[in-house]
């Protein structure tokens, strides 16, 4: 990757961080807090997704 493309890519990422910062801050301060049961309900499908991605990696692995 050319140096100018690296700088442009980093600038885009930096801009996204700058735009996302207040959103993240708002959700951290004002967002609802989940109970242990809520988190279990979210972690189960995410674990299934991780298992699926591992399966895909094993499928394409030579």
């Amino acid at each position: 990757m050319d140096t100018w493309m690296k700088i442009a890519s980093a600038a885009i990422m930096g801009f996204m961080v700058w735009r996302l910062w207040p959103v993240a801050n708002h959700w951290m301060k004002n967002g609802p807090k989940g109970s242990k049961k809520d988190w279990q309900g979210a972690i189960l499908p995410l674990l299934a997704m991780v298992g699926f991605v591992i399966l895909l990696i094993l499928m394409v692995r030579k």
Partner: protein
């Protein structure tokens, strides 16, 4: 009479939610098809990395600065198509690279199918369980900031292991955001189908790009 009023209000709310959901999935499927067509055009005309970066910058400008002005009018749909078309165009060089290597077509199709299964599975889970995943907001947005921070560092350091860890992190966060965004539509947190479409499109786009990166790396072609 009060009970009748509550039932009617609840029914109206459910109808409005279903309308947002239906419009979101319709616009999302059309914009994904358009994005795929633009990606194919990008490969066939041989869009360079510089042009792809330019298309991505134009897409970001559209979504951050233009879309908020038109998100409540029919012009918003045109902006969504312009945005998803540019995002599709930006995929050209990466897809061209993978398709040129032996077995690359299989990797691209696996990433595409895998992304579809992940999206349908997680969105279906949120729709059928009707759980409220808004409590994940803080965790997901902070996670996104952390991943962006590491991505900036890795643009200059180019550490392969960090690149793979970033891809794994992005897939995990975008998957969480699918649950989060879908549950926001169901529970009335998101009532604008144009905004909802863009959010879900970005989740799918990022999962596809980073799944392709992971599969390419582990197949030995990256």
């Amino acid at each position: 009479m009060d009970n009748y009023g509550q039932v009617a209000s609840s029914r109206d709310s459910a109808l409005a939610t279903n309308k947002v959901l239906r419009n979101t999935y319709t616009l999302l499927s059309m914009s994904l098809i358009f994005s795929a067509v633009m990606a194919a055009v990008s490969i066939s005309i041989g869009v360079s990395q510089g042009m792809a970066l330019g298309a991505m910058i134009a897409a970001i400008v559209l979504v951050w600065f233009v879309l908020p002005k038109f998100e409540n009018s029919s012009m918003g749909i045109a902006v969504v198509f312009a945005f998803t078309g540019l995002m599709g165009l930006s995929l050209g060089p990466m897809l061209g690279y993978y398709l040129a290597v032996p077995g690359g077509g299989e990797i691209v199709m696996t990433a595409l199918g895998g992304t579809g299964v992940i999206f349908l599975g997680l969105s279906g889970y949120a729709l059928t369980t009707r759980k409220d995943f808004s409590f994940m907001g803080g965790f997901l947005f902070v996670g996104l900031l952390v991943v962006f921070g590491f991505s900036i560092v890795n643009i200059f350091t180019q550490i392969p292991a960090m690149s793979l860890a970033i891809s794994a992190g992005v897939i995990l966060i975008m998957s969480g955001l699918i649950l989060f965004d879908t549950s926001r539509i169901i529970h009335g947190g998101e009532t604008n189908y144009i905004r909802a479409t863009v959010s879900l499109y970005l989740n799918i786009h990022n999962i596809f790009v980073h799944l392709l990166h992971l599969l390419g790396a582990f197949s030995g072609d990256d």
